[in-house]
Amino acid sequence: MKTVFMRTPTLKDCPTHYCPGCGHGIAHRLIAETIDELGIRGRTIGIAPVGCAVLAYNYLDIDMVEVAHGRPPAVATGMKRTNPDKIIFSYQGDGDLAAIGTAEIIHAAHRGEQITVIFINNAVFGMTGGQMAPTTLLEQVTATTPRGRQTTSEGYPLQVSELLALLPGAIYVERCSLHNPTHVRKAKKAIKHAFELQVSGAQGLSLVEVLSPCPVYWRMTPVKAMEWIEKEMTKVFPLGRLKG
């Protein structure tokens, strides 16, 4: 019998704690595949965020650190500057990167740090119970926007990737999605490209934003959640390469 599909070695052989239909598992796999395909497991250090993916080190078989909410780009800076030969990436959610860690990501990009950022945008704070994130869509009901997000009181969804793409220090910014196999493959390509840039020593920060489902806090079935990404999220967060 011929094996046509198997677990990639850097992805550990264990069940995850993620909810049914969550996108983290797919995103983890894409990163693990990238690391294995580029053969960089022995020199890669990952940074897990505060949020559902805080336990990413339970699934990714690489050296990893878990840091304070929003600070991964600063921690990555400290790592990369002292270890230019290592491949440093942070894995951050929208609360981590787009709310509490806005200063850190803007300035890491602005300094042109040679790091890779995987930004998971699921339009909600997952781990704390589905509160509004800066990326929450207008009219979206969350634990802290019970009447739906209103521009008058909660402002507009924050398009961080567009902001970052303006900075000369950000050399590659692309927004992808996990809502169907075609887009999963595109996301893989983008993630791999972002890592390749760092491996090649390119001068600057590479970031891939990944629109990812959170069916539990969107109060949808996993299938409906995928449809919602395509129909609603991509309207506010258009897919494609923003820079590089």
């Binding site: 080190y57 304070a68 800076t77 400290g78 500057r81 290592k86 850190e104 300035h107």
Partner: protein
């Protein structure tokens, strides 16, 4: 060389691989000096966007096994407390210099000792400690840098060097020399890429029931070792003293002058100077309180270390406080005056045997 520059050069001599900092007065000479010297040495200097970022850059460099430090002054150190707590939880070594200024709030830029509580109680959230040095001269500031890096590595914890605006700005002749390192454990926990080995994880989250409690007890055991092994304390003319003045840092230098003058005037005075503020020289002070005498604690604050002195003495002797907060610096005369108020003048005979000295404050 001013104290700020001297401590920066001492850090380089001590093998500091990376410096991360954000400007704040009165320690601006340090990032300026490091921005020039670190690249000369082929090492890392980054001016961060905030103190929050600076301490997290230290966190990152330290997690990979490098020697990293940051410096700041009081308001900036407050911002770093988040990172210091995470460093404690993740058991990462780090050196943090606080060139203290007046507070609370923006306060002023004058020297102060108002951050004693923050430094010696951990400062951030959670159950942890940091080692704290309170040097009183530029030479001692320089000398404690090498020890700070060694202790940080040995115990995998943050070492805070608590200086103040005077020490940072003061110029004194110093001897700068490379000190031999302590024998240090290998950093086999560091994140270096899991080449040919299992993954290393640096973490401070312990979710399963009982896991954090176990981790806290592990940290506690480590802190107890520090308390047992690393106390540094200086004493002067304590044996026959009727009054012992306790002070640290720059305040201790002023106290030294006042005690010398008191001795010249026939007053049996002595001083105790904690060099490590945590671990605190509890035993030394407690022992000194076994004799009948008064303790005067002098600080450039409204009274912080005085609480540790009282805890050490545990009611065995009276403890009086004199301090000047908000940039006020006590003079030798002011302290001498307090010493005189608290002691029995030589020309007055005591009627009762073992009469206690009069407390006039």
């Amino acid at each position: 060389m001013c104290g700020n520059e001297a401590l920066a050069e001492a850090a380089i001599l001590a093998g500091c691989d990376a410096y991360f900092g954000y400007p704040i007065t009165p320690q601006n000479e340090i990032p300026a000096y490091m921005s020039r010297r670190m690249p000369e040495e082929g090492r890392v200097f980054v001016q961060s966007e905030s103190e929050l970022a600076a301490i997290n850059m230290v966190f990152g460099a330290s997690a990979t096994g490098k020697r990293a430090m940051t410096t700041s002054s009081s308001p900036g150190i407050s911002l770093m407390q988040e990172g210091i707590s995470y460093l404690a939880g993740a058991e990462l070594p780090a050196v943090v210099v606080n060139v203290m200024r007046g507070g609370p709030g923006l306060g002023n830029i004058a020297p102060s000792q108002g951050d004693y509580f923050q430094a010696t109680r951990g400062g951030g959230h959670g159950d942890y400690r940091t080692i704290v040095f309170g040097p009183s001269s530029v030479q001692e500031l320089v000398d404690c840098m090498a020890l700070a890096f060694d202790l940080a590595d040995e115990y995998r914890m943050t070492v805070v060097v608590l200086a103040d605006g005077i020490l940072g700005q003061m110029m004194e002749p110093i001897v700068l020399e490379k000190k031999p390192r302590r024998e240090l454990p290998p950093k086999d926990w560091a994140l270096t890429g899991a080449k040919g080995r299992e993954q290393n994880i640096v973490r401070s989250l312990w979710l399963p029931e009982g896991a954090l409690e176990k981790h806290n007890y592990k940290l506690k055991a480590k802190y107890e070792q520090v308390q047992k092994n690393e106390v540094i304390c200086e004493q002067y003319e304590v044996d026959d003293a009727e009054i012992i003045v306790v002070a640290y840092g720059v305040a201790a230098r002023i106290v030294r002058g006042a005690v010398t003058r008191a001795r010249e005037e026939g007053i049996k005075a002595g001083w105790i100077r904690p060099v490590t503020l945590w671990p605190f020289p509890t035993e030394q002070i407690s022992k000194a309180a076994d004799e009948l005498r008064i303790f005067l604690v002098v600080e450039m604050s409204c009274g912080q270390m005085v609480e540790d002195v009282k805890l050490a003495i545990a009611g065995k002797a009276p403890v009086v406080f004199y301090g000047r907060p908000g940039g006020g610096v006590p003079t030798v005369d002011e302290i001498l005056e307090r010493i005189k108020q608290l002691t029995i003048p030589r020309n007055v005979k005591c009627k009762a045997k073992n009469a206690k000295p009069k407390l006039k404050i």
